[in-house]
Amino acid sequence: MKQEEFFSSRWSLIIATIGIAVGTGNIWRFSRIVAQNGGGSFLIPWLIFLLVWSVPLIIAEFAIGKSTRFGPVGAIAKTAGRQFGWMGAFIVFVSTAIMFYYSVVTGWCLRYFISAISGDLFSTTKHLEYWTKFSSSYQPLLYHFISMVFVAFVIYRGVSKGIEKVTKFMVPSLLIILLILFVRAVTLPNAIEGIKYFFTPHLDIILNYKVWLNALTQNAWDTGAGWGLILTYAVYMKKKEDISLNAALIGFGNNSVSLLAGITIFSTVFALSTSNAMQQISQAGPANTGLTFIYLPLLFSKISSHYIVNVIFASLFFIALFFAAVTSLMSMVELTTRTLIDFGIKRGKAIIIVASLGFLLGIPSAIDLKFLTNQDWVWGVGLIISGAFISFSIIRYGVDKFRKEIINGYGSDVKIGKWYNFIIGFLIPVQVVVLVSWWLISSVSWDPEWWNPFHAANAGTCIFQWGIVLLTFILLNKFMVNQTLKQSN
C-alpha cells in the first residue's frame, strides 16, 4: 500500500512521539514509585533500564513501522512471518484495552483543570471527599465522552492536520508549564529537603531486587516502548528519517520529563507538607489517584497566601496533566484506527467505529474504579508481553540482518553496533520473563485466591483475559493477515 500520510518534518515526528511517551505515568506514577523505592536508590536502576529496555525497543518500533508501513498486525506478519500476525493483533488489543480506561483518566484530568481554574477545587480542604463525590457521580462518564470525542476529531483529521497540529501545540506547552512549576517548586522554602530525598541513594535499598524490578516496570509503562504506538507513528515517517538518533531523543526526552516532574513534586510536597511528606507521596489511594487528585490539590491551596496564585499553579498543573494524557490517548486511538485502515476501512469510517467502541467499552471503567484497576493491572502487565512480541519479531527476521538493513539503512544518521543484537536478542527476552514472572508470582502473595479470574489484580485474571484474547487472535490469524496484507497488492 502506497503510504500517503507523513509527518511534515523530523521535529513534528519527534514532538508527536514524545507526546506518546509523556503521559500521566511521568507526572503522577513516577513520583509515587520513586518515593516507594527509596528515592535515589531507584534512580540508578531506572537510568540503566532506559538504556537496556526503553531505547532499544523504541529503535525496534521505529524500524518495524518505517520499513513495513503497516500497523502492528501487518508489521509483525511482514517482519516475523505471516503465521505470527496474531502477535501484532495482541499488541493492538492491549493498547486498545488501555485506551478504554485511559480516556476516563484523561477526562479526570480535564475535570480537575476546570475545577482548578474555576476555583471550585479550593472550595474545600476535604479532597478525599471531593474526589469520592466526583468519581461516584455522572461526571467521569461525561468527561470520558468529551475526551473521546475530542481525540476522535483530531484523528479524523489525519496525521498532518490532526496529530501534528495538536501535538505541536500541546507538547511544547506541557514542557513550558512543567518548567514554570519546576522553578516555583524548587524555590519554595524547604524544597531542598525534597530534592535531597529524591537523589539520596541507600546501599541496602539499591541492593533490593524489588527496586530493580520496579525501575524496569516504570520504564516499561512510562516510555511507551513496546506498546505498538511508536510503531504506528513510524508508519508516517519519511524514508529519509533516521531511526536510532530519533529513538534516543524520545527515550531521553521522556525520562527528562519524568525527572522534571519528580523534582517538582518532591520539592512541593516536602516544602508544604505539615505531616510525613514521604507518606503523602507514596500513598496510592483509590485507583492510584491519591497523590494527584487528593493530596496535591490540598498542597496547591498552600503554595501562596494569594488565592489567585494558587488557582494559577493548580490550573497549570492540571492542564499539563491533561495535555500529557490526551497526546498519549491520541496515539492509542490512532493505533486502533490504523489497524482498521490496514484492513481496508477508510479513515473516516474507522474512527467512528473506534471512537464509539472506545466510549462504550470505557463506560465500565468510568463508573467502577475497581473495574478500572483490574484493566490497568491486566493490560499493564500485558504490555510487557507486547514488548516481547516485538523483540521476537526481530529475532525471527534475524537481529543482525535487521540492524544492518533496516536500522542502519537509508536515512540513518548514526549506525548502531552489535551491542544492539545482544540487547534485543537476549536482554529484552530475559527482562520480559523476569518481569512477567515477578508480577504474577507477587500477585499470589497479595491474593490467596490468586487463580480467581474475577478478582481485581491477580495472576488468574491476567491469564484468563490474556488467554481469551490470544486464543481468539490465533484462530483468526489467517483471516487477519490475509485481509491486511492484501491491501498492499
Binding site: 540508578i44 537523589f199 539520596t200 541513594p201 531521553f252 525520562n255 525527572l259
Partner: protein, 42 residues
C-alpha cells in the same frame, strides 16, 4: 546535601538531561546536513 547525594544528582541529571541535549544537538546537526544535501523526501 551530602557528597553521595550530589554525585547521584550529577550522574542522573547529567545522563538524562545531558543525554537529551547531546542527542538534540546531534539531530539538529544531521538535519542541517540532510537539508544541504537535498535528500529525497519520501
Amino acid at each position: 546535601m551530602n557528597f553521595i547525594t550530589i554525585i547521584t544528582m550529577l550522574i542522573v541529571v547529567g545522563t538524562v538531561w545531558g543525554g537529551m541535549i547531546f542527542f538534540l544537538t546531534r539531530a539538529v546537526k544531521y538535519e542541517k546536513i540532510k537539508e544541504e544535501n537535498g535528500e529525497v523526501e519520501n
